[in-house]
């Protein structure tokens, strides 16, 4: 069953917490991965791979650069999840 927006944000929050040590409650739709959440370009690759596995979605490298905020990633996953 496809994940809801709420479930995706919660899942991304857990992933970002694991990778960057940011408290889960700080991971909100409007937050930028690089500017607000301490996720640099290498760590973003880790976030993407973890999200792919968790939400059964493929995020090609060319699309990763468009995922600036948690909201961008959530929308992408909502649209593309299997």
């Amino acid at each position: 069953m496809a994940a809801t927006q709420e479930e995706i944000v919660a899942g991304l929050a857990e992933i970002v917490n694991e990778i960057a040590g940011i408290p889960v409650e700080d991971v909100q739709l409007d937050k930028s991965f690089t500017d607000d959440l301490d996720v640099d370009s290498l760590s973003m690759v880790e976030v993407v791979v973890a999200a792919e596995e968790r939400f059964d979605v493929k995020i090609p490298d060319d699309d990763v650069k468009n995922l600036k905020t948690v909201g961008d990633a959530t929308d992408y996953i909502l649209k593309h999840q299997g």
């Binding site: 990778i19 960057a20 040590g21 301490d38 290498l42 760590s43 880790e46 791979v49 792919e52």
Partner: protein, 421 residues
Amino acid sequence: MSSTNRTVVVTGIGATTPLGGDVASTWEGLIAGRSGVRPLEQDWAADLPVKIAAQIAVEPGEVIPRPQARRLDRSAQFALIAAKEAWADAGFTDKAGDDTSVDPDRLGAVIASGIGGVTTLLDQYDVLRDKGVRRVSPHTVPMLMPNGPSANVGLAVGARAGVHTPVSACASGAEAIGYAIEMIRSGRADVVVAGGTEAAIHPLPIAAFGNMMAMSKNNDDPEGASRPYDVARDGFVLGEGAGVIVLESAEHAAKRGARVYAEAVGQGISADGHDIVQPEPEGRGISHALQNLMDCTDLAAAEIMHVNAHATSTPAGDIAELKALRKVFGDDTDHMAVSGTKSMTGHLLGGAGGIESVASILALYHRIAPPTINIDNLDPEADADIVRGEARKLPVEGRIAALNDSFGFGGHNVVLAFRTV
């Protein structure tokens, strides 16, 4: 050789070792004659011929925050812990520049390891094989590269005068400190953070060293397995950890009123030109390094009261080193208290020169030589005054010096000299 001949001093020391998570606990263990060797209880050790190692006393994950730790190889974690202790011990309160007593353009870092990020390499290969290409960590390359520890330490302290990684197997840590001394001597830097680190306790390196017949297989007596100079020695015990020191021009240290532990007198370097792994049995290459040290510095044989020997507990290597000391120093060898601290710490490979420099510096500073433990029957060929069983006081009066020897596969010989101030 130096172009400016500036005097170099040691103003900070740091360590994380099988005996303790910092310098104080490591030194206490060394002086007490405590062994850091334990059984390997991990499942992967079950089929190995060697089931003992000197594992770190304090896991780096207890000290370094998780998000930072997961992007550092274990060897870089050790280096960072030791470097931060040394940096604070030297009296610096922040990175260079933010702490205005040190100019980042005049600060260097030279941290070495013998093998580099070997556990990252092997663990990520497991990920590739078991989980596929996509799951290989994007941090793999900066984690496994041998200059990773040096680069991370350089970033942590704000070093911009140069960050280097000499690699010479088990002489790497000592070569790093020698390189750092020369950076200051030549006028290229005022302060250099230098040392060695190693994290190679993993089934592949253990299987490989074990198959070379280089390691002790005394699995039934872990604490007694590393026994330099004992007739029953049967190879080294693998250790892990890091030792890092802060070197500084005497002028720079005086200007900021830093505490000085010792003078870093200089280094002697040579290559055996004999065999890729076997030491030259008469210690010819080691003699050459010792002679270079004496020729290139104002060190006098009469003031050398202590030697922290390479002494890995291998049948051939331990004796070759003592022969070299006798050949170069003759009767002066008799007043040198020779300690094999690998009997307690195990052999940290590229980290050895780091922690043994820390031990040599503290031996001078406190004027006490740590013991060589586990010598039940001294090898009759050990023609030197070995500090056996218990720590021994060094002369309390006058200027005294200590040598720290490190030799590596490939025939690399590095001798460092420190002296009281």
